[in-house]
Amino acid sequence: MSPSATNLDGFAGLFALEPSREDEMLAEIDRLEDASPFARIEGTHFARLVLVPRLLDSKDELTVGPACLFFATEFDQPLDDYVERLRQVVWADKLRDESTNKKLASLDRLFASCAGYPGAGDWQAKAFRAWIHDHRIKPRYSILGHAGRSVFEIKQCLELRNRIIAFAMDTDGHDPENLKGEWEACDLGLVVGVPAASGATPPRSAWLFDGLGDIIRHLLHTSRQKSRAVWPRVPKPRWARELIRAGASVVEAPAIVVARLASAVKCHAGRTRR
């Protein structure tokens, strides 16, 4: 296991199920109890798969939307790395399912009940990653009990603690010579500290824009969806595509223009100095 710091945001997503696949999903979830596939995904702290039969409506009844799978996980390393490891496990499950008649716990069969599942083969890696990203529910407020600590580090620290306790009990009452000799002979082990997750706090301006941008992006997205059916697609110039790709909204666009100008001025100043 690699000792990298935990991802502070984790992943959560609500995946709509294909019609009438609730029973299959339930059976697959039950099967996972025997051997959790998440144990095979390096760096997973916690994971959950919850079958949501329907969402609550304004009268507190379960009537809204299709049945969904709520999938959430906390892990080490960046999301894309984790998704790739997840894909490899899902694909391994698929290959195993094809080679055996036994119905074992399988993330592939579980995800296959979800709408839009593209498959997890090596040639489908990009589509799988996009599918996971599309379903992401961004955490807006989080409380983390041991932020930045990887699974590797936590397990090592717990192991070291047990060893220290055992050593202290074994050597209780030993004379100094013996005590030091025992300490040198028995390797208690020492975990090298892992730096806290980098980039945990983005610059203030970035998250302020992010918040406003999210609200405006929602409005734009809704209106864009409504207009898509009516208006034909018009090819956009490169700068416009770039702005849209960057998630540009009316608030963010000036910021991007200012940043571009600033970098151009900086570049020009550098050239002049040379």
């Binding site: 996972l32 409506d57 809204v64 989080s142 717990l158 609200i215």
Partner: protein
């Protein structure tokens, strides 16, 4: 809400509808407080939350490329958490420590009972959790027998021991024994 196989780690999942103005208000507040350690400290100090996330969802992605995503009739607050101890105590802790924040989050949810009496709030969340998790759920934890406090203690002990071990090798046996006992005395709360 479940704790499987003797695990000390429990889970809760709540997905509840709200209104758009309320959701935007929450987005703004969360943007401000997400970076504030001071704001989170009272809850973190209690030491039984491994992780808790709040988020918002207003649509389910399209089932195929070039299809429309399924817009939900209202935004939903998604809360999921891993913690130690019974759900009731976990929720009571929120109710006593940060009642105003909990009120702000769920005040627009249908049948919201308010934060007082605390029992009503506990039942409100527990009922919603049960409605989802009662159907079918799978949980995984990499260190199921461990509490948040024991993780933090083990990390503190590791740091203390690293300081001790860095100089212990060069000490004479008598000095080593004295340092070792001093280390054990200092670290006894973390053992």
């Amino acid at each position: 809400m479940a704790a499987r196989g003797g695990s000390k780690v429990r889970q809760v999942t709540v997905i509840s509808p709200t209104t758009w103005p309320h959701a935007w208000g929450l987005l703004g507040l969360w943007q401000i407080f997400q970076r504030s350690t001071k704001h989170k400290q009272p809850v973190m100090d209690l030491g039984f939350i491994h992780v808790a996330h709040w988020g918002l969802v207003d649509r389910l992605p399209a089932s195929a490329p070039h299809c429309r995503s399924n817009e939900l009739p209202s935004p939903y607050i998604v809360f999921h958490s891993n913690f130690n101890g019974p759900l009731k105590e976990y929720l009571e802790m929120f109710a006593f420590k940060v009642p105003d924040r909990m009120e702000r989050i769920w005040e627009r949810a249908p049948n919201w009972p308010g934060m007082r009496p605390v029992q009503a709030f506990v039942e409100f969340v527990a009922a919603r959790t049960e409605r989802y998790e009662g159907t079918g759920a799978h949980y995984y934890c990499a260190y199921p027998q461990t509490t948040v406090k024991s993780v933090n203690k083990a990390i503190r002990l590791r740091d203390r021991y690293a300081r001790f071990a860095s100089r212990a090798g060069a000490l004479a046996p008598e000095d080593f024994a004295r340092e070792w006992h001093a280390f054990l005395t200092d670290a006894q709360l973390d053992l």
